[in-house]
């Protein structure tokens, strides 16, 4: 197991290096001049050259790459040309918002996806099952950007039930961060109204972000549950008088969870990359919005930083899922 773990970590390191090479190449192939953009539209040549020198953009590309990798090794992501700030510090500032959004979306997606998948399997080929299948296909097919705007129009503009965008009321002081997750921080402080306010702000973006995840989990869980409910051990358990509730939630669900777990892992990775769209629609101040704002400004270091974080997230999640496989399935543990 340890050898397996070490091999996976080494492989993840190699993949990460590949990602660094790729993002660096893409950032430098793009026909854009970050120095000119940072200097401003009216800046003269001397001003542009000054910015170029200040950020080392006048150095040969291999030298810039070596310097960038050196920074990464020291836990630095370089400096943003647009703001002059450390990208690492910016990422640390914006990441909690993204993490909070993803955690809420994933919790909702898992809860609803597994429950609805189970229901769909139990009522196989009946109207509820058909409705769930249509819902699942729509959930995967709906573009988050469009769906987000639709929800804003419905719940914020027409019904006025929820705020349109942002993470917290504009004149609300969230206080100094404890964990950086506003929902958790407000609970830790015992501030109920702030918790409710945060919940109202996160509801729509989390719903949009969770939908593809929810739909995928629903589909996989349904098909696995259908298979599991047909299995001989279920028939045997039923013959032994095991209650229907226990049969479904303990015996069938546990066996159906293995592929579901894989899809949850994959979806967590996708979810973090989807924040780029969802955070833009809802102006959620996370790393997705940070990446978009930076890309618009032609500021590549933050974009590269966010890409690395998302890539690292993918790798870690896959690693964790592989390890959990072993925990859930003893056959894999001994293989």
């Amino acid at each position: 197991m340890l050898v397996y773990l070490l091999r996976r970590i080494a492989l993840a390191g190699l993949m990460l290096f590949g990602l660094v090479c790729l993002t660096f190449a893409i950032a430098n192939v793009a026909p854009s001049d970050p120095a000119a953009l940072a200097a401003g539209p009216d800046a003269g040549r001397s001003q542009i050259e000054q910015v170029r020198r200040e950020y080392g953009l006048d150095r040969p590309l291999p030298e810039q790459f070596v310097r960038y990798v050196g920074d990464l090794v020291q836990g630095e992501f370089g400096r943003s040309v647009a703001t002059g700030r450390s990208v690492g510090r910016d990422l640390a500032r914006y990441f909690p918002a993204t993490l909070e959004l993803c955690l809420v979306a994933m919790a909702f997606g898992m809860l609803a996806g597994i429950s609805l998948g189970m229901l769909s399997a139990l009522f196989k080929d009946r109207w509820l099952d058909h409705a769930m299948r249509i819902f699942a296909v729509s959930g995967i097919a709906l573009p988050p950007f469009w769906f987000g705007l639709l929800l804003q129009l419905g719940f914020a503009a027409w019904l006025g039930w929820l705020p349109t965008s942002g993470r917290i009321g504009v004149s609300t002081d969230p206080g100094d961060p404890i964990t950086g997750l506003l929902l958790v921080d407000s609970l830790l402080r015992g501030n109920g109204p702030l918790f409710v306010q945060c919940l109202s702000y996160i509801a729509l973006p989390a719903l949009v972000l969770s939908l593809p995840c929810l739909a995928s989990i629903l589909r996989v869980n349904r098909s696995e549950m259908v298979e599991a409910l047909r299995a001989d051990y279920i028939t045997a358990a039923r013959a032994h008088g095991v209650s229907r509730w226990r049969l479904v939630t303990v015996h069938a669900l546990k066996n159906a969870m293995l592929p579901t777990l894989a899809i949850i892992g994959l979806r967590w990775g996708w979810m973090m990359s989807s924040t780029v769209l969802v955070e833009t629609v809802f102006d959620w101040p996370g790393i997705g919005l940070y990446a978009v704002s930076s890309a618009i400004a032609g500021d590549f270091k933050p974009v590269m930083g966010v890409t690395l974080i998302i890539g690292l997230n993918f790798m870690l999640v896959n690693l964790v899922v592989d390890l959990l496989y072993g925990v859930l399935d003893p056959r894999l543990r001994h293989a």
Binding site: A30, P31, S32, D33, P34, A36, L37, A39, G40, P41, D42, A43, G44, R45, S46, Q47, Q50, V51, S80, A82, T83, G84, R85, Y94, L149, Q152, L153, A156, A157, G160, W161, L162, P163, T164, S165, G166, R167, G169, V170, S171, P193, V196, Q197, S200, T280, V281, F282, D283, P285, L289, Y290, V292, S293, A295, I296, A297, G298
Partner: protein
């Protein structure tokens, strides 16, 4: 029974959420907070490092300049300087400061602060520095006494006064206390302020919102009276137009900008919403590549200019635009309507086309616009349609602004035609005329790489002329000459628009400000 339970749950959920919603303007005690929303972030607050419309709106709120632009037509009024005088040779400018101005920390705004601020801007050589760096050296700025500061220029430069309002004064003591590695406080001023303006910074999140508190005892006083002044202003960054529109509808926001003409039409119909729609000074032009490719031929440029359907520009903006009659916007000093500026005339277009190497067309040209700018894309479609009459095909390409600017910076890579909006930085005609000078090649407004050595000489000469009548006459000639050379299709001047709740008072439009930018100082809420 089921219905009742559901109704109770529904009601409970709503009542739980209701207190957190902002159904009207935000309040701080008895005073109101104005929430202004636009699509652009404020990455750097330092007034000597960067400016764009959103950044300058915040800078203008927390800092003061020696002079200030107000009104329509724009006027320059004394601000930190109560008066100034210029020497007859146009080389020396002496500013006399008001006596009561103070920074937010209580320090007086004195001549040394002014000297330091100009020196800092020039030495950092960023942001506003380009305006004066060729004419003003840091050592030629002198604090004569606590209330007098003198600038001696290297050579006469008439636009000088028109740029001074954008040079904001920082508190040297605060800045120097935060210098790191001799950076002139650049790092600190990115997210902090050291100003004397009507608002002071409360919260700065460059990608989400900027919250400013009004300075109760602002040295200049409050035009709406202390009773009505705001508690503060929040600039909220919302990238998409739809949430801004929804936010205004449900009173989460009081003023929104960067809306499309169609959105503005819809918003203006809503009860309680007012649309502000004013002729601006931002020009829209389609820059030809005058150096390489088919458009290097003036006859082809003329042919395209005469084939273009100008009226469609007005239609695209739902009537909210005015056709350009000169390279200069009408709000600019020295503007003249240039006789014979091209309008759609297919016969003339064909006449010019006949003089080119491709007299019957049969070529394909590239039109580049900023990706995501729907109006610019639609104008490309108009051009495509117009060029059919000349049997010229058009390839419409949307590119991100950074890519488009990088391409346009060199004649060899610039597209045949690139559409650009340009907002003049001041009211002096030099700000537009110099866009056609050789020194503007490589900048976004110099993408035409226009070449006319005589015109360049005239532009350079006009900058230093102290005889106003002669200077304006020269600008008249420059405008005619540029139009004759047709380095671009002189398009239109779109209106500037804002939508706001009807309780928002004190809005003052000034065309010299950038798109979306407003002066927040005189604004208040009457409700």
């Amino acid at each position: 029974m089921t219905t009742t339970r559901r109704a109770i749950l529904h009601g409970a959920a709503l009542s739980a959420l209701a207190p957190s919603m902002s159904w009207a303007f935000d309040k701080d005690g008895d005073r109101k907070i104005l929430v202004f929303s636009g699509n652009q972030a404020v990455p750097v607050l330092d007034p000597h490092v960067r400016y764009d419309w959103s950044t300058r709106m915040i800078q203008q709120s927390v800092y003061d300049g020696l002079l200030k632009y107000v009104g329509n037509p724009p006027r320059i009024i004394p601000w930190l300087a109560e008066k100034y005088e210029a020497s007859p040779d146009g080389l020396t400018y002496t500013f006399h400061l008001v006596g009561n101005a103070k920074f937010h920390n209580g320090d007086p705004v004195d001549a040394e602060a002014v000297r330091y601020s100009f020196e800092r801007a020039l030495k950092l050589n960023a942001g506003v520095a380009w305006m004066l760096k060729d004419f003003l050296k840091p050592e030629k700025i002198t604090a004569v006494d606590a209330k007098t500061v003198r600038f001696v220029l290297e050579r006469p430069f008439q636009p000088f006064i028109s740029y001074v309002p954008w040079w904001y004064i920082v508190n040297p003591k605060q800045v120097q206390a935060n210098v790191v590695d001799g950076d002139y406080g650049k790092k600190w001023l990115t997210e902090n302020e050291a100003g004397s303006g009507p608002f002071k910074l409360k919260r700065f999140d460059s990608t989400a919102l900027i919250h400013m508190d009004a300075v109760p005892d602002y040295w200049k006083g409050w035009p709406m009276g202390d009773k009505n002044r705001l508690s503060g202003v929040i600039y909220r960054i919302v990238r998409e137009a739809a949430p801004r529109r929804a936010g205004l509808q449900r009173r989460e926001m009081d003023v929104v900008t960067n809306m499309s003409p169609d959105d503005m039409q819809q918003l203006a119909k809503l009860p309680g919403v007012r649309a502000e729609d004013h002729p601006g000074s931002t020009t829209f032009g389609i820059k030809f590549n005058c150096q390489t490719g088919p458009t290097a031929d003036i006859n082809l440029r003329k042919a395209i200019a005469y084939a273009f359907d100008y009226e469609a520009l007005i239609t695209i903006h739902n009537g909210g635009a005015k056709l350009m009659d000169s390279p200069f916007p009408p709000t600019m000093e020295g503007h003249i309507p240039v006789p014979g500026i091209p309008r759609k005339d297919v016969a003339k277009a064909k006449e010019f086309l006949a003089k080119t190497k491709t007299p019957s067309g049969g070529i394909e040209l590239e039109y580049v616009h900023v990706q995501g700018l729907e109006d610019a894309r639609r104008i490309g479609l108009v051009l495509l349609d117009s060029l059919r009459t000349l049997d010229i095909k058009l390839n419409i390409v949307g590119q991100p602004w950074p890519t488009m600017v990088a391409r346009g910076s060199k004649p060899d890579t610039a597209a045949n035609m690139t559409s650009v909006y340009v907002t003049p930085i001041g009211t002096d005609p030099d700000t537009v005329a110099f866009q056609y000078h050789r020194d503007s090649w490589g900048l976004y407004y110099g993408m035409s790489h226009y070449e006319d050595k005589e015109a360049w000489a005239m532009i350079a000469e006009a900058r230093g002329l102290t005889d106003k009548a002669r200077r304006m006459a020269l600008y008249g000639e420059i405008q005619k000459r540029i139009v004759a050379d047709q380095p671009e299709i002189f398009g239109m001047i779109p209106n500037r628009t804002w939508a706001m709740r009807d309780y928002v008072k004190g809005f003052e439009f000034s065309p010299v400000r950038f798109t979306g930018e407003v002066d927040l100082y005189p604004m208040w809420i009457d409700a």
